[in-house]
Amino acid sequence: MRGGHDLGGQVDMGPINPEAENEEPVFHAEWERRVFALTLAAGMLGQWNIDESRHARERQDPLTYVKNSYYENWLEGLEKLLLEKELISSNELQQAVAIEISLASQRFSVPNPEQTKKILYSGTPSLMETDSEPRFQIGDRVLVKPSDSTGHTRAPRYAQGIVGTVSARLGCHSFPDSNAAGGHEGKQLYRVIFDGTDLWGTESDKTEVAIDLWEPYLEQANA
């Protein structure tokens, strides 16, 4: 989807102003620490996947997305998912008391500390089994298809309509566009290298951008 999150190539977003590496804390406030932990812990209930989680943060008015601090967008996404998956109600959220939705019949388990640690250290690989063969070869010139999808996608807007060269075939990985809609489907993933001059103009020679793109985003470019 086109949204405030699709930031590559936007101009005039201001200076970066990095904090000194050795002085920056992991979290800048207690509430950030809580939002981070709540998001990971709630994610472990298995009621949504990582792309649904990203999509929930993206589905905001673009100005709000850009203006919000990072963990405000996480909080926004977490509340939205909890409401949409009916784990909480908006009355409960407003009053901060469990009054409406009973979870007694739910068939999920809440990981204890030991299980939580195990989940953190094992991760969730996106590589999937497949019988399909990759359609593109290394060295192929491919075009990123323009998209007006209103759903979640991982084809950045700045690369859409641009031709690049396949430099690696990365295997069959869980496809974000389907994943975010609650499906689970694998598609071939490629590393595609773009010349800076094709993306941004002649002053960007000596620059390349490598982007990981799924097969449905691509079509063969004319030789």
């Binding site: 970066i16 102003n17 490598a210």
Partner: protein, 206 residues
Amino acid sequence: MSHDHTEPPSDLELRVKALESLLVEKGLVNPDALNIIIDTYEHKVGPRNGAHVVAKAWTDQDFKQVLMQDATEAVAGLGYCGRQGEHLQVVENTADTHNLVVCTLCSCYPWTVLGLPPAWYKSAPYRSRAVSDPRAVLREFGTELDPGKKIRVWDSTSEMRYLVLPQRPEGTEGWSEGQLQQLVSRNSMIGVELARAADASARGES
């Protein structure tokens, strides 16, 4: 951050407290599990992991060979595995090419070897310009590259996670892995800086 106790909590703090108490009351999260998550990313997983990987690659050719072929496997051998490191790829800086990592669409970052990303990595200014004007971005970090050097920017759009292997600083022949680790900054493994220059004090620290 220090907090003045006379200052009333912000709306945001209240909103987060309310959400946490609701989720705990409903049994949706385990409070001790929250503490495990915070402790893991605040104290256990961080850029020292990545510095270990880089220094080992600089001193052990066999390790480097495995690392460049299958970084996920190679760093798992050092005990670094899990969330946001399921598919790790190491990209090597050379005399001709400098690498820079970004996630223009969100904040993808190799947690297993670098921990959680710094605030600037997640910010709109970095995410927007790292792909379109990487040389200017590097300059904001005080990094000036030879104008003839090519920059390759890695936009982390999939679950592949990228770690930059910086060039080993000159004058470090004979340094131990532990000594070399002191030269490997987090920023050099994202690609916004080079590894720290060798000096005697760094060598003395280990």
